[in-house]
């Protein structure tokens, strides 16, 4: 393989890993936030949920920040097209992320307005969880693009059936992450609520998966010929089945692991379907934004690959260390 193509492929994989890492790690705190009204009824229970995610969520969000920056550095055209093209949707995500970031802290200190801040946390978690999938569905199924690589659709272009199906799938995967994580980290009432919610979410997941499958059959049947797609889908289904088994057996660590594997499998499907595209164009394949026509030059990709290959393993090691530090159940009095 020539040097440039090797670098482009490496960066395609790295950006994929960063975004998948974000989905899996921030997935559990986005999920916990989305389910907060169902998991916790009073302040003490809410505190238990917050305590479960507090030490981690900030580091988790850095996966998004770094994923976005890696996309910017490696594939500036894809970054420019998606972020400017999906302007209003992204602004909604940003408003949500801002409120989400501050609302736990504000909830803790601003005792008079706790209802407001916990609602802000829930909406701020729910909205991005849905919109990420919608955005991803759009770049996979294709959006109208000009020869300048600019997006030519509008806000409602984004809300077509296929992207909405992927949005719902992403949301249900996030809810699985949230509910299994909270069941793993808490005990007492909150854990019982999480376990009660699990069954419904487990069903919801397979329903949204089938919905996405149906949408794929209708809108992009060509992707179903790839054996890698089927292999990844098999991982998803097996993990989904095991997740219930482990939950029933009370082994919540493994259950959370399976839920994370579901998410990894979903990203495998995305990669297998989408590679080497970054943003597909509706209609004309010549207008697709791919890793070949959107990337930075050899020099940038080389230097940054060096930084990523040294930096990311170190990140993973100390992140694992800190997760170990905070292992076990959070303190709850109930």
């Amino acid at each position: 393989m020539e040097t440039l193509a090797f670098l482009q492929t490496s960066w395609y994989v790295i950006v994929g890993i960063l975004l998948a890492g974000y989905a899996i790690l921030d997935g559990f705190d986005l999920g916990a936030g989305s389910l907060l009204p169902f998991l916790a009824k009073d302040d003490e229970e809410k505190l238990a949920v917050f305590n479960s995610i507090w030490p981690f969520w900030d580091g988790n969000e850095v996966w998004l920040i770094t994923g976005g920056a890696a996309l910017f550095a490696a594939f500036p055209h894809a970054y420019a097209t998606v972020f400017s093209g999906f302007y209003l949707a992204l602004m909604l995500v940003l408003f949500a992320l801002i409120f989400r970031a501050v609302s736990m802290e504000f909830w803790y200190y601003d005792e008079k307005r706790r209802g407001l801040w916990s609602a802000a946390f829930t909406v701020g978690s729910l909205l991005p969880s849905l919109l990420y999938g919608v955005a991803l569905g759009n770049v996979i199924v294709g959006v109208p693009l000009a020869a300048s690589m600019d997006f030519t659709g509008n806000f409602f272009t984004l809300l077509r059936p296929y992207p909405l199906a992927i949005g719902l799938l992403g949301l249900s995967a996030v809810l699985m992450q949230g509910v299994t994580f909270i069941a793993m980290k808490t005990d007492g009432t909150v854990q019982k609520r999480a376990l009660d919610l699990f069954g419904g979410i487990w069903i919801l997941f397979i329903v949204t998966l089938l919905l996405s499958f149906a949408a794929t059959v209708i809108y992009m049947p060509e992707s179903l010929t790839s054996p890698l797609v089927w292999a990844s889908a098999a991982v998803v289904v097996v993990a989904w089945l095991l997740c219930r088994r482990f939950t029933a057996g009370g082994r919540m660590g493994l259950s959370f692991g399976m839920s994370s594997l579901i998410f990894a499998g979903l990203w495998g499907i995305v990669g297998a379907t989408h590679f080497p595209n970054l943003v597909k164009a509706t209609g004309e394949a010549a207008l697709n934004i791919t890793m070949y026509n959107a990337s930075s030059g050899v020099k940038t990709l080389t230097v940054m690959l060096g930084i990523a290959l040294i930096g990311l393993p170190v990140v993973i090691i100390y992140t694992a260390f800190v997760y170990r530090v905070f292992r076990g159940k959070v303190m709850t009095s109930k």
């Binding site: 305590n51 580091g59 400017s84 602004m91 801002i98 501050v102 990523a308």
Partner: protein, 439 residues
């Protein structure tokens, strides 16, 4: 309204609000590291008490900094898509490096600082304090690299209208990186240390937590004195560098309309661009030449040396630059007074001094904001100096009404955040050190 102007205003609002928080982080993480080091060495509980209290405040500051920082990173794609396409080959790299090498470190170990005191050994806890300090300052380094490249681009070649990286080292250590980095970090230390000195002064004034406050006041004051005096030198080298590398920017800072030998240093005035004249000007003859070139008769380029469509606006950079310098001088004066008070031992008792410290808390923020306004508006009409015009950097597919909508939303959200932030900060301060931990 014009989409370029709206996008510029939005970036100014987003960056201006965001930058309330990182400078506090720089200063406070430094002081936390000092306290944790003292605690590790001396084993005295009081250091731990102070540090734990500051970590709580840092946690609040940090979440708002993170939340508002994402907006900035995304805005290069949302509002400045042409910028991303044309210079993304170079500009994206420092942002990605910041994430991989610095921001992960800072965020992950902040989790340990906030919630892990009883879960790790004392040495690991100290190491976490160090890594949060180090991550914050490294993070700032990559961001300043990115911005300095916009001021004094280097290490690139133009290929088909796009800037392409040719020399990573030259791009990273472009002519303004190091000077501007030191200037920004010192500004952060001034901001954070004066904030904490003011906090300690407030407790002393109200006769609360006295032993706590005396130690905090002493450490903060020492760091403030050092930073404010060092900033005088750093500010000077920053100005010299601007004169040499962005002469039209310095001409705007000083409202120097015509090139002259023995240029004066402006102290006050009202520059009027349309008339190319400065009213009510007070200046020191030959001082600008002396400061910039160490020669009272050196030639300094004036605005008329440059094409009219390549000149920055004058009034805003001129005013911002001078207010920043006035504030910097005030800090140096306050530092000298503080040093004297500390030496004489009256720093802990003089009420007027405590009142002055409390009143000074917002001033570094003003200096920071005016400094950025001078640097950014003074670079106009360029987004990347002499490479890419701001007007050509904006997204082409985003209509003005959408930017207006997001601008209004950000403004409302940021006002709300600021009000709640201040209210909660006051609440934490009133509750005082030693209150129960969350985890």
């Amino acid at each position: 309204m014009d989409v370029v102007l709206l996008s510029r205003i939005q970036f100014a609002v987003a960056a201006g609000f965001h930058f309330i928080f990182p400078p506090l982080t720089f200063g406070i993480t430094l002081i936390i590291l000092v306290l944790e080091t003292l605690y590790l060495k001396s084993d005295e509980e009081i250091y731990k008490t102070i540090s734990s209290f500051l970590i709580k405040i840092l946690g609040l500051i940090f979440v708002i900094g993170t939340a508002t920082g994402i907006v900035l990173e995304f805005s290069f794609g949302t509002n400045w898509a042409q910028y991303s396409r044309l210079v993304g080959d170079i500009f994206g790299a420092p942002l990605a490096a910041e994430g991989i090498l610095a921001f992960f470190l800072e965020s992950v170990f902040l989790g340990v600082l906030l919630f892990g005191r009883n879960r790790v050994s004392r040495k690991v806890y100290w190491l976490s304090a160090f890594l949060v300090f180090f991550g914050a300052h490294l993070s700032g380094f990559w961001i300043i690299i990115a911005n300095s490249w916009m001021q004094t681009p280097a290490g690139y070649a133009m290929e088909g209208g796009r800037a392409v990286l040719t020399d990573f080292y030259a791009a990273v250590f472009n002519p303004s990186t190091v000077i501007r980095y030191l200037h920004t970090m010192l500004a952060g230390w001034i901001t954070g240390s004066l904030f904490l000195a003011g906090l300690a002064a407030w407790y002393l004034l109200n006769k609360h937590h006295e032993s706590f406050s005396k130690i905090l006041l002493k450490i903060s004051l020492i760091i403030f004195i050092f930073s404010a005096l060092a900033q005088f030198v750093s500010g000077h080298s920053s100005s010299v560098q601007v004169t040499k590398t962005q002469p039209e920017k310095m001409a705007a800072f000083e409202a120097l309309w015509n090139t002259m030998e023995g240029a004066p240093l402006a102290l006050f005035g009202i520059p009027v661009e349309s008339e190319q004249k400065t009213y009510l000007e007070i200046s020191i003859p030959k001082m600008l030449s002396l400061l910039a070139y160490f020669d009272p008769n050196a030639k300094v380029l004036g605005l008329n040396e440059f094409k009219p469509d390549e000149r920055p606006p004058v009034l805003l950079p001129y005013a911002s630059y001078h207010v920043m310098i006035a504030l910097g001088s005030l800090f140096a004066l306050l530092a000298a007074v503080g040093a004297l008070m500390l030496f004489r031992g009256t720093a802990y008792t003089a009420r007027w001094f405590h009142v002055a410290l409390i009143a000074a808390i917002p001033l570094p923020h003003l200096a920071n904001e005016f400094g950025w306004i001078a640097a950014e508006v003074g670079r106009q009409p360029w987004a990347v100096y002499r490479v890419l015009r701001t007007a050509d950097a904006v997204s082409v597919v985003v209509p003005a009404w959408q930017v207006l909508f997001s601008l209004i939303m950000f403004s409302l959200i940021y006002v709300l955040l600021f009000v709640v932030f201040i209210a909660i900060l006051l609440k934490i301060v009133k509750k005082g050190p030693g209150a129960a931990e969350a985890y």
